[in-house]
């Protein structure tokens, strides 16, 4: 019988890898959803002397989402009573057209400035105004956290892989004798490495189940939910069922690769 200790080394390394991946997935979702909010708060107003359609300018930048004319008549209506018909029609003649440009996604200031100058070179566009409603300090912080966590995740990944390799060398040593004897009695590869693969599958499952339960626990934990709400993120972002597929694939993929490595390294002794 194999003890719990035999499973620990591989399961813990796998758990660390999976947990990093899951954290990055969650953070990526939070940043994306935040970007989505931010882009709503950005608006660009084009002032032009002729009609501008989205098809005219969409080639400039992939950021451009939609262009909608702003109804100037409603403004004119407001002042209708206070002006003569004559002056109104004059105003109508010289008044430019206004368009509201919506972004497809959020972008930093520099990119927006570049977009602005490119829009100005479009025929007919007279002016471009940028209206910004929020500061993007929280966004910069999120980006910072994301890059730190990516770095940390990479480091943890490297350490875990080193741990995995050490465990594989132990496995190789532990299973060599049995595989050797089985081979001398004519056992095919799949039979003599069966135990190893069973171990790999069990360990992968343990690590996978541990990460999924941790995430399920967090997604129902009131403190975690409050924290997410406090930074304006949707608590539902914490765990997605799509993640299960990614985590399972990585867990079983890494674990089975390790077992296959041990099997491939096996050589019958003389």
């Amino acid at each position: 019988m194999r003890s719990i200790k035999d499973h620990m080394a591989l399961t813990i390394s796998l758990f660390a890898i999976l947990f990093c991946i899951e954290s990055l997935l969650v953070l990526d979702r939070i940043v994306k959803s935040y970007e989505n909010d931010l882009k709503e708060n950005y608006s660009l107003i084009l002032v032009a002397d002729r009609s501008v359609k989205v098809s005219d300018i969409s080639h400039i930048d992939t950021l451009i989402g939609s262009v909608e004319p702003i109804d100037a008549e409603s403004i004119l209506k407001e002042i209708e009573g206070r002006m003569s018909e004559e002056s109104l029609s004059k105003i109508r003649q010289i008044m430019p057209l206004f368009f509201s440009l919506k972004l497809r996604r959020y972008a930093d200031r520099e990119r927006i400035e570049k977009l602005k100058s490119e829009l100005l070179s479009v025929a007919g566009v007279k002016e471009v105004h940028i209206f910004e409603k929020v500061h993007d300090r929280l966004y910069s912080m999120l980006l910072f956290i994301k890059s730190t966590l990516t770095l940390f995740g990479l480091l943890a990944g490297v350490v875990s892989i080193l741990l995995l390799m050490k465990q594989m060398t132990i496995w190789q040593f532990e299973h060599k004798e049995r595989m050797q004897i089985m081979s001398l009695f004519g056992a095919p590869v799949w039979l003599r490495s069966g135990v190893l693969f069973r171990l790999a599958v069990v360990d992968a499952f343990l690590a996978f189940a541990a990460v999924v339960s941790t995430m399920l626990y967090l997604s129902s934990n009131s403190e975690a939910i409050e924290f997410l709400q406090s930074i304006g993120a949707d608590p539902d972002l914490l765990f997605r069922y799509d993640d299960i597929a990614v985590l399972a694939a990585v867990s079983f993929g890494v674990s089975l690769t390790c077992a296959a490595w041990v099997v491939a390294r096996f050589k019958e002794e003389q």
Partner: protein, 223 residues
Amino acid sequence: MQKVIEAAGLKLAYPRHEPVIKSASFEVETGEFVFITGASGSGKSTLLKSMYGSMPIYGGELQVGGIDMGSISGSKLYKLRRHIGIIFQDYKLIREWNVEKNVMLPLIISGFPKDVCRAQAQKLLTHVKLSHKSDKYPMELSGGEQQRVAMARALAHNPFLILADEPTGNLDDYSSQVVWDLLERANEELDTTILVVTHHIPEMLSANYRHLMIENGVLYEIH
């Protein structure tokens, strides 16, 4: 009589070493009982290894069960091994398996159902007088007992050929007796071909046997 082993000018060498066996030419027919003797380090184990495909053929020819060992492929070798019973000097029992499962090994490999394997293992453990130890692990047995387990394992799948490397090398008299008795019985009752490497040939043996000897890398037949 069918030939079980045919060697002609067989040469065996470990990589980057002088040949251990310089010339071996002999034939073994079905049902023969053959002893191979020689000084320590003369190449007895090496010769036996070549017969179960653990030693590359350096020169000459060797056929086992009609199969050319010089050109045998991986899967063919595994198939051949499933019909050979090997007894090693160091027993080579699987330490994490109990005695019964160790005896079941060749039957498990051949894909027999569990209950068939178990029944056969129990029968053989009775033959080697160890049925009361079937739940024990190899480490819990004496050397003699471990070799008797290995003996039971070598016979479990009714092999056509048994290759034994100093099977009683350092065993007590009782265990040696059990091992020789069983080898003789397999030879007499099942016509199993037997090749045994040994220091000295036991006196109590009643079977007719042949005696091959290795000296200075050359194999001779002693009449």
